[in-house]
């Protein structure tokens, strides 16, 4: 009888111990949360996603977290109730998240990951800009690879001064590769942010932005006398020099050697040489001139172009390699015009692009009064390295 009583007590003790152990297993904090599935598996920022699994525990504002490809998500609510249960969570796809794993973290312990796809749009590429005049900038780009998709809508362009925030956008049709923006102010640097746009389940989906900074600049096709801008050959009695912008006349001004101190650019011809370039270098070739010279620098690379409107840049002109230099136009074998990038008035610099016209040759006119004709795009505001 005593043995039966002893065995009963022993069994009861064992049962209690076993039960305690079983309870310990179900409430253990050593176990990582597990995600079994998510629904849906694809969506956009702002969409709700249900996460099914186990060991999510009770919601704790500081230790219960959900990530979409390492971007922390907000947990959805219903009224005042946070939608977080031990086996089901409803999270909101965060802004800025990209395709990747959804992971639940509880008390620093991370779950397995399950892939969530956030659709994206291939952006436009190689965005470039050029100044058409003192109020207008033209941009161009290589189209998004997704243009052929039926869901592809077009492009959104935000234009705003660099010291302010983007406002309204301009809608640009699918198939476009350039856009001209008017009503701008010379000397103000603008951001041009371009997004490719497509329709995704009735929602508008934007690509990553491509952006460029640019400013309008004044274009001159005539000088202060409302005539073509000319630099005459050395044998001529007319001027071989050019002041890019004459404040009084409000335009470029042709100048003779005797006014060399005002030159920005000059022309020297001898034999077959047609040397065009920085005032200092050219004036050194005129023995009659002994005065001072301005420091005017030209970028090492020139551009061949049929028209000014063809010459775009993807970065500020200040990024070019500048020095005082000349070019022998006679050595340039092309039937196109030549565009030089110039800067004057250091240290802040006014930037310009100067296009030498090629009309079956660079030298035009009658012998001994031949000339080169140029078109000038000039940024009147110093320190703004955008022109043309």
């Amino acid at each position: 009888m005593k043995l039966i009583k002893f065995l009963s007590i022993l069994s009861l003790t064992l049962i209690i111990i076993l039960n305690f152990n079983a309870c310990d297993e179900t409430t253990s904090t050593d176990t990582n949360p597990v995600i079994e599935s998510i629904s849906p598996t694809e969506g956009l920022p702002g969409d709700k996603v249900k996460i099914y699994g186990s060991d999510f525990g009770e919601y704790n504002q500081t230790t219960s977290k959900v990530y979409f490809n390492n971007v922390l998500a907000q947990i959805a609510t219903e009224g005042k109730q946070i939608l977080w249960e031990d086996d089901e969570i409803t999270a909101i796809v965060p802004q800025g998240a990209t395709t990747g794993d959804v992971v639940v973290e509880v008390d620093g312990k991370k779950s397995n990951g399950i892939k969530f796809t956030i659709p994206s749009v291939d952006p436009a590429k190689q965005l470039m800009a050029t100044s058409i005049d003192d109020k207008t900038v033209k941009i161009k780009w290589t189209p998004s690879d997704e243009e052929s998709s039926s869901n592809f809508i077009g492009y959104w362009l935000f234009v705003y001064p660099t010291n302010s925030q983007p406002g309204d956008y301009l809608e640009i049709q699918k198939g476009s590769t350039n856009y001209t923006i008017g009503g701008l102010t010379e000397g103000t640097v603008y951001n041009f942010d371009l997004y490719a746009v497509k329709n995704y389940s009735g929602k508008t989906l934007l690509s990553q932005k491509v952006t460029i900074q640019w400013s309008p600049a004044t274009r001159f096709i005539t000088n202060i006398n409302d005539d073509a801008i000319k630099l005459y050959e050395s044998a001529s009695t007319f001027g071989s020099g050019l002041k890019l912008y004459d404040e009084t006349g409000g335009a470029p001004k042709g100048l003779k050697v005797s006014s060399g101190n005002e030159w920005d650019l000059g022309l020297y011809t001898e034999g077959s040489v047609i040397e065009f370039g920085s005032a200092k270098n050219i004036l050194q070739k005129y023995s009659s001139y002994t005065g001072t010279t301005k420091k005017v620098e030209i970028a090492s690379q020139y551009i061949e172009a049929n028209s000014l409107d063809e010459v775009f840049d993807s970065q500020a002109l200040s990024a070019k390699s500048f020095s005082e230099r000349t070019f022998d136009l006679a050595q340039i074998q092309t039937n196109k015009n030549i565009v030089f990038i110039v800067r004057t008035n250091p240290p802040s610099y006014n930037y310009a692009k100067v296009m030498v016209l090629n009309k079956g040759g660079f030298l035009q006119g009658n012998p001994n009064n031949r000339y080169i004709e140029v078109i000038v795009s000039y940024q009147k505001v110093p320190g703004v390295p955008y022109a043309f």
């Binding site: 000088n223 007319f238 001027g239 009658n366």
Partner: protein, 120 residues
Amino acid sequence: MKKLFALFLILTVAFTFSLNSEPPKPLKGKIVSLNDIVGGGTGKVNKEQAQELAEKGNPIVFMVGNGKSAKIYFVYNEDGTFAGKKLAKYANNENVGIIGKIKKVNGLNIIIAETIESMD
């Protein structure tokens, strides 16, 4: 045969001469208002004034030299039209050069201008 040879010689000499000829020298002067000069002034006008005068049909002319030795030229385009409006554009220039044919008609100095250019 001799005549043909003579013609060939003349043509060759003329061609050689034309190749070696000096560049045409421009006549150097300034743009003035004839009305102002007649009224006893210096004739000096700026570009805007000159253009306004020219628009109203007042003569804008070319003056070479200064003072009593100054000579006034009426400038015409090669198509026979009066070049006052074109001259007016150069009124701000200190020195202006004109290449063209100079002639005197009924006592008036006339230039048929091929080129008008700044000489500052």
